[in-house]
């Protein structure tokens, strides 16, 4: 094991079987994530980014290959790996405080310790005073703050975020991104964020893993050496964003109407030539 890498994705292939046929959705994906790193995984929609993240969370198993956490193969959810969901996924029948407590209930902690930890985290994410509210009373941004507090309450080494800001409006997600960066800096935990938002990836990541689609493979791993705090109007930021955009754009081209029309035209021309040759 590489002493620096905390999570190793080794030659992972995920195959779905449907009516006897195998469809590979992820093919031979390998990369490493260093401890305390902030990694973003980007790729065209429907490329299996979320599936990849769910495999890292132990929620799904790779068909071939392995994912290791500190050298140990991940076979199911790991107590040191926690997750933030795009849909927030708060239990509506639990209060805000009880939602944050969820991950602590299976641990050997006294009720007072559990409450103390949950309250501290709610205060950190700016939700002091909302402990006894139910999720229905909260805005989207507040709900995701509860989701973040719940993920941090179990004191994980790795926090996986599945499109954690995608369901939020622009201002809310911008503020929440800054908060996550502060938390990342202060806690020294490893963050892995799946996103389709390239600007988000450039703003947050140390490493961006660019995936290609159908089946998903690693297209490129881009190191982002910009100083923090990063500003989206900084020329270097713009350049990196453009490069990433171009990479994904090439990827998307193959699925676009324009590309397919061109392919059809080319095929027709070949047919026409063949026909003419036949007639001659």
């Amino acid at each position: 094991m590489d002493s620096l890498s905390q999570i190793e994705v080794e030659d992972v292939t995920k195959v779905y079987r449907f009516k006897g046929t195998e469809f590979p959705i992820i093919k031979n994906v390998s990369f490493k994530v260093k401890k305390r790193d902030f990694t973003c995984i980007v790729g065209p929609s429907g490329c299996g980014k979320s599936t990849l993240l769910k495999m890292m969370a132990g929620l799904e198993k790779p068909t071939y290959g392995a994912i290791r956490f500190e050298g140990e193969r991940i076979k199911g959810p790991h107590p040191k790996i926690s997750m933030v969901f795009q849909s927030f996924a708060l239990f509506p029948w639990r209060t805000v405080l009880q939602n944050v407590e969820l991950g602590l209930e299976g641990k050997h902690l006294s009720k007072t310790d559990r409450l103390r930890i949950a309250r501290e985290l709610l205060e950190m994410v700016g939700l002091k005073g909302y402990e006894d509210s139910y999720p229905k009373a909260l805005s989207g941004g507040m709900k995701q703050r509860v989701g973040i507090a719940r993920a941090l309450a179990v004191d994980p080494e790795v926090v996986l975020m599945d499109e954690a800001f995608s369901a939020l409006d622009e201002y809310t997600s911008a503020a929440l991104r800054e908060d996550i960066l502060d938390i990342w800096r202060d806690t020294g935990k490893t963050f892995i964020l799946v996103t389709h938002n390239l600007r988000e990836a450039v703003e947050m990541a140390e490493d961006v893993i660019v995936l290609s689609s159908k089946p998903t493979t690693v297209r490129r791993i881009v190191k982002i050496a910009l100083k923090r705090p990063r500003h989206s109007d900084d020329p270097d930021f713009v350049r990196i964003h453009k490069d990433l955009y171009r990479l994904l754009r090439e990827e998307l081209e193959t699925t676009m109407v324009r590309y397919r029309l061109r392919r059809i035209k080319e095929l027709r021309e070949v047919e026409d030539i063949e026909k003419m040759e036949d007639e001659n």
Binding site: K54, A57, G58, L59, G76, P77, I81, S82, M83, F85, S87, A89, F91, P92, W93, R94, L102, G103, E105, G106, K111, Y134, P135, K136, R150, V154
Partner: protein
């Protein structure tokens, strides 16, 4: 924490039992309006009072009957038939419905069968039930039969509507097979279960009364039937009124209470 919960319950309960002036006005007014019309219609003589007694007479009879052990026993008997019936249905339908909601394979093999049985008019089975189980047990079993389907189908829907993310959240934060049931499935189906029980209660009253009237099983149904046959119309009306009040009491106390608990988060 437990103490806090109990206090919450108390608050909800008292909110339900205490009618402030406005509340009282809202439901008392139409009720007294209805009774006045009824009283007037009978007093003027549009309806002959030997076929339809005035409400004053009905209430008088009801108050008098509430003092008689046989009447109380009849009400209690019907109430127990209904309660046992619904309880049995709850115990049988809930696990099946949870399984059907979770496992598509189980659902597609069992639900069509249940739909077939549920599609029958419940009373069609009554003669066979009496033959096999006797009249007393039949009343309970018929109640079970018709309480089963509303509970089954509402709970099944409830389980299906649970977001898959919730199970993943549980796997990550609080794994354990039993936790799925306790932390996600049961709380998620509660609102559906309340609807199912409400529907059941309506159906079950009808079928239990029918069994009591047709087969003359002891209960408020046979009390009404026997009174009407004997020409004691005011007694029959008192019996009907007693059922009405019992239904309202059940609805307000039991379901109102449960619904308010759910409404806090829903």
């Amino acid at each position: 924490m437990v103490k806090v919960k109990k206090e919450e319950d108390k608050a909800i309960l008292s909110e339900f039992l205490s009618f402030d002036g406005k509340d009282l006005f809202i439901w008392i007014l139409p009720l007294s309006f209805l009774f006045s019309i009824w009283e007037a219609v009978v007093t003027i003589g549009i309806m002959p009072s030997d076929l339809c007694p005035p409400p004053s007479k009905v209430f008088e009879t009801l108050l008098f009957r509430l003092g008689s052990p046989e009447f109380i026993a009849a009400i209690l008997r019907s109430f127990l038939n209904i309660s046992f019936g619904i309880l049995l249905a709850l115990v049988a339908a809930t696990p099946l419905a949870i399984l059907a909601g979770l496992r598509i394979g189980f659902d597609s093999s069992v639900t069509p069968l249940l739909m077939l049985v549920g599609g029958l008019p419940d009373l069609a089975i009554l003669p066979l039930a009496i033959l096999w189980f006797g009249p007393e047990t039949s009343a309970i079993l018929m109640a079970t039969l018709c309480a089963f389907f509303p509970i089954f189908f509402t709970v099944r829907t409830g389980v299906r509507e649970i977001a898959p993310d919730f199970f993943q959240v549980l796997m990550i934060f609080h794994p354990g097979k039993f936790n799925e049931l306790r932390e996600v499935i049961l709380p998620a189906i509660t609102p559906h279960l309340i609807t199912g029980l409400r529907l059941s209660l309506d159906f079950v009253w009808e079928v239990v009364l029918a069994v009591e009237i047709v087969v003359r099983v002891a209960g408020i149904g046979s009390f009404i039937n026997i009174s009407a046959e004997a020409g004691a119309i005011h007694d029959a009306f008192a019996g009907i009124m007693a059922i009405g009040f019992l239904s309202i009491a059940l609805d307000r106390l039991l379901f109102g209470f449960l619904e308010n608990r759910v409404r806090k988060w829903q």
